[in-house]
Amino acid sequence: MKNNHRFRRVATAALAASLLVGGLAACSSPGNAGAEGATADDIATALQTETTLTVWGWAPQLEPIVEAFEAKYPKVHVNLENVGTGNTHYTKLQNAVKAGTGAPDVAQIEYNALPQFALSDALVDLKDFGAEELKDNYTESTWGSVSLNGGVYALPQDSGPMAMFYRADVFEKHGISVPATWDEYVAAGKKLHAADPNAYITSDTGDAGFATSMIWQAGGKPYTLDGNTNVSVDLQDEGAKKWTGTWNQLLKDDLLAPVTSWSDEWYKGLSDGSIATLIIGAWMPASLESGAEAGSGKWRVAPMPTYEEGKAAAAENGGGGDAVLKQSKNKAAAYGFLQFANGPEGSKIHAANGGFPSTTADLQSESFLNAESAYFGGQKINEVLVQASKDVVPGWSYLPFQAYANSIFSDTVGQAYGSKGDLNGGLQAWQDATAKYGQQQGFTVSTK
């Protein structure tokens, strides 16, 4: 047949071509110049010199911050680029790091992704610029998140102490009191769903950030990092078991709305009250106001339920800071930008635009604490949220390849969600896959 001939010829030609050409150059990694510190004077000079900075980030508050920065330092022009949100952003950043070119001067990086970039030598240690003295300006948990292996790799911008956001109208309608413990929470979920089969206590289809935060709150410490290459992964510790013990009950009894977070249906559920609570970071109010307008006046905030009555505990969920890339050609000006954006001036603008700060001064200011939110029916929500930031359980850390680990969460724990199976088994599978990846990447991984 004619086509047989054609394919045989194709094969022959391809083979010939492959023999002809040798190899192409392998990826080269860029040489790293040594530490390039700068004094306060250097930074001040850099900010008065004609220059352009590229900043990658997706937080909506960055735009007004950049405008204010440019107004104060007219010689510095800032290119603010939104290259994607979350994982898309990290993928592109990682690609630019790998390619050795194309990275921005400054990038927004969430706390859970920071170790990955810090340890792969992509970020500048801000200690060289004297960042250490800023320590007291930030909350303990956020400063802890940017301090890794004795260096400081970002300045915190926002924080996400977790709290429980709930629909007061739905609770009232069904005679449910606001749960203070997880047992009460599960009971509330049962009561609500029995009274209205379309209503759910909350939605959760599996989210790595949420799961790790929940384990954090329960006192788990699944990830530890010792030096640059030794990590341990233990998703079967007591904290993890506490969380799965509670969450399995909700999952098995169909008490979790099977709606993906941030999807259109999710917003619809938040608008009409069919999703009655959210356990989420303190940055949520701005998203509620823009995404679920119809819920205005009906939402309230309470502390996150706990495992032991009366013993407050919270965790960080999301939030991040800004870092200077080693590829930057103008690190002094880049650090100058960080000082502005993540310092007193930037954090005011950030808070005014719906962000939840990480700076102690803002968290303690009277005007912040006493602000009454119309969306929350006039409740002083920041009182609750600021208290949560003080209740965050200390001692948590993420993996140096957390971004990858999170990307395979749905392949493992997500399967348990999908089949309404045992989350503990899902965590085990996640632990195995994570450990395997760590080993492939040359880490010494220990598991329990």
């Binding site: 030609a13 990826c27 997706w58 937080a59 680029e81 917003y267």
Partner: protein
């Protein structure tokens, strides 16, 4: 009713050159396409079949329903999207607001993406069509050493998954400093193996070797002959390839997704998906109404081009599909 050519098609068919198989220049593997106008309709008149019409009606509904959904929902606000029945209009008609919103959101980045897309289409699809036409014509009308090898390698390339090439292409381009520039999107879209194949088949028939020989006798150079005489004869094939490469570049998603990091160079497809992804990520603003309206605006030009250029691509496709 009989199958009949629309006036436009009949005209297109009439302007096609008469078939003139010229054994000398024909590669042995491909039978010649035949452009003889159909006279079947004139032979027997057939009655319409209700059953067939109903079945085709079902298919048309299947094809059009999602588009209808898109039109209906582009008239809704973000909040009425969620509160009204998906397949009918809601009380508030927000189409114009949505269009304004789409065009002005984030300093009018949609328009920027539209301009990028047009650039990629003009440079990518235009270049691809030109290269394919030149090469297809060369393969059809000249004998030269290595001709069979060209054919084999190009056809083999069709079978290699394009997405499989994406990662190595990305790494290669990033070392050449091309990533994050328009070149990284344009250069890979310059190659259309299918277009090459189509022009080749078309050129075999549409450009009679006698005409070329006459031009050579007159002393005209090969390129001059190509541009002044042959290109006109190749027009339907050329436009068909152009249309399909336009669709391919207009719809291109994967390649720009990995090549471009900054939204300044996004085409519409990547841009729209980034708007969509924005709402599914913590802290992002949900703008589904703009995603939906933007989707509608994205398909209008391409659908328009297809309808407008119907007569050309249908005749060109007839030539390509015969084998």
């Amino acid at each position: 009713m009989s199958v009949h050519l629309s006036p436009a098609q009949a005209e297109a068919a009439a302007t096609l050159p008469a078939p003139s198989p010229s054994p000398a220049s024909k590669p042995p593997k491909f039978p010649a396409p035949k452009f003889s106008a159909r006279r079947r309709g004139g032979v027997t008149r057939k009655r319409t079949s209700i059953l067939l019409t109903v079945l085709m009606g079902v298919m048309a509904v299947y094809a059009l329903l999602p588009l209808f959904w898109l039109i209906v929902n582009s008239t809704k606000t973000q909040s009425s999207l969620f509160s009204s029945f998906g397949l009918w209009f809601s009380s508030d008609f927000a189409l114009w607001d949505n269009i304004t919103g789409t065009l002005t959101y984030n300093d009018g980045e949609f328009l920027r993406w539209l301009a990028n897309t047009v650039l990629y289409v003009v440079a990518g699809a235009g270049g691809a069509t030109f290269l394919a036409t030149l090469a297809g014509y060369g393969l059809a009308k000249f004998d030269f050493p290595g001709k069979r090898g060209v054919f084999a390698v190009v056809l083999g390339a069709v079978a290699v998954p394009g997405t499989a090439l994406a990662v190595p292409t990305f790494l290669m381009f990033s070392q050449m400093g091309l990533t994050n520039t328009p070149w990284s999107v344009i250069i890979p879209s310059l190659i259309s193996p299918f277009g090459l194949y189509l022009v080749w088949i078309y050129a075999l028939e549409a450009v009679p070797t006698e005409v070329l020989e006459a031009a050579r006798v007159d002393g005209a150079g090969e390129f001059r002959t190509f541009f002044t005489i042959s290109l006109r004869m190749l027009a339907p094939g050329f436009i068909t390839v152009l249309l399909f490469t336009v669709v391919a570049t207009w719809n291109n998603y994967f390649l720009p997704l990995i090549m471009l990091s900054q939204s300044t160079w996004y085409p519409l497809t990547v841009g729209l998906n980034s708007w969509n992804a924005q709402a599914t990520t913590a802290g992002g603003e949900a703008i589904y109404n703009l995603v939906i309206t933007g989707s509608l605006l994205t398909i209008v030009p391409i659908v328009g081009a297809f309808l407008f250029l119907q007569r050309f691509w249908q005749s060109g496709l007839s030539a390509g599909s015969v084998k």
